[in-house]
């Protein structure tokens, strides 16, 4: 992506994010949040992170590839286990990176 388009994208996302943050304390300060919006918001983060994780691990240039002969899926699995056991974000990242380096070292 060219730098001018990237800048335009960031300006749009920045303005949008500011409008979200200002919405209920500025424009609609005397209104309650609609129930459907509240219900939708709780699913946005799990859905987004799951889609992005699946895509980052298994989609390569528009094709789905389960490359289990490469280190990354296994490093991700180690991260999932540590995340599940510890619920600690930094420990999860550390475990995933450590497993990645270990497998890169062990695999030819």
């Amino acid at each position: 992506m060219s730098t001018p388009i990237l800048l335009a994208l960031l300006v749009v996302v920045g303005i949008l994010t500011f409008l979200y943050r200002y919405a209920m304390i500025g424009f609609f300060a005397k209104h309650a949040l609609p129930g459907w919006l509240h219900a939708l918001c709780r699913h946005i983060a799990p859905a987004s992170f799951a889609a992005l994780t699946a895509s980052a691990l298994f989609v390569h240039g528009g094709d789905v590839q389960f490359a289990f002969d490469t280190p990354r899926p296994w490093a991700a699995l180690a991260a999932v286990i540590v995340a599940w056991r510890t619920r600690n974000v930094l420990a999860t990242i550390a475990a995933g990176m450590a497993t990645l380096y270990l497998l890169k070292f062990l695999l030819p």
Binding site: V13, R21, I44, P46, A54, A56, A83, R87, I93
Partner: protein, 248 residues
Amino acid sequence: MAGKATSASGEFLAGCRGEAPLLLGVIPFGMIYGIAALAAGVPAWVAQLASAMVFAGAAQLVIVQMLAAGAGALPIALTSGLLNLRHVLYSASMAEYVRHLPRRWRLLLAYLLTDEAYAVAVLRYQRHAADTAQRDDGADLRHWYFFGAGFTLWAGWQLSTAAGLLFGATIPAEWELDFAVPLTFIALLTLLLRERAGRAAALVAGLGALAFAGLPYKLGLVAAILLGLLAGVWTVRRLERVKQESAA
């Protein structure tokens, strides 16, 4: 007059102190963002500017991850725009506390309303009665606490972005530090999967991302997230119906 200034600055500094422990978790994110932005080919000055303009860690990591995967501008805007929608919830939750402030204060506090600043400021508003933060003339000064917390996080985010950009320029690509971004998503996702509806949303969105992988410009990600949202809403409805039927 001196007394008034002391209490406003006192609230501000208390907000800075309240936010400080959260910086420990934020600084690695800022550094990962800076490193991954360089790896995705984003110029350093643009990556730093993004931290000031967007000022939302998860969305910035999503933008960088999608750029690295070759996504188009529209899918990136839609995905990060959806992900940031949660800030409307924080805004709604803060409304009763900041509604009375002049507009310039509300504009400033809205800009600083991140996950971490919200978490600290809302506790100050909820736990401490207004009178503990009052001046002699009875004015409520807790917005200075909010400002202190928000400013501390803002400064921490800008500096850790800069540190990541400086550090990232010196490390070789073989270290694969860009992999820290999906690892961060895994960690955050696991924290969010306590509820059944959240698990349904995540499962459908994850499978959808694979099913729609062939769509151009990574638009499949947007479709997957929207399907995940539907699955979450549908699961909540179903669970409520089951509860009602078993009660009746």
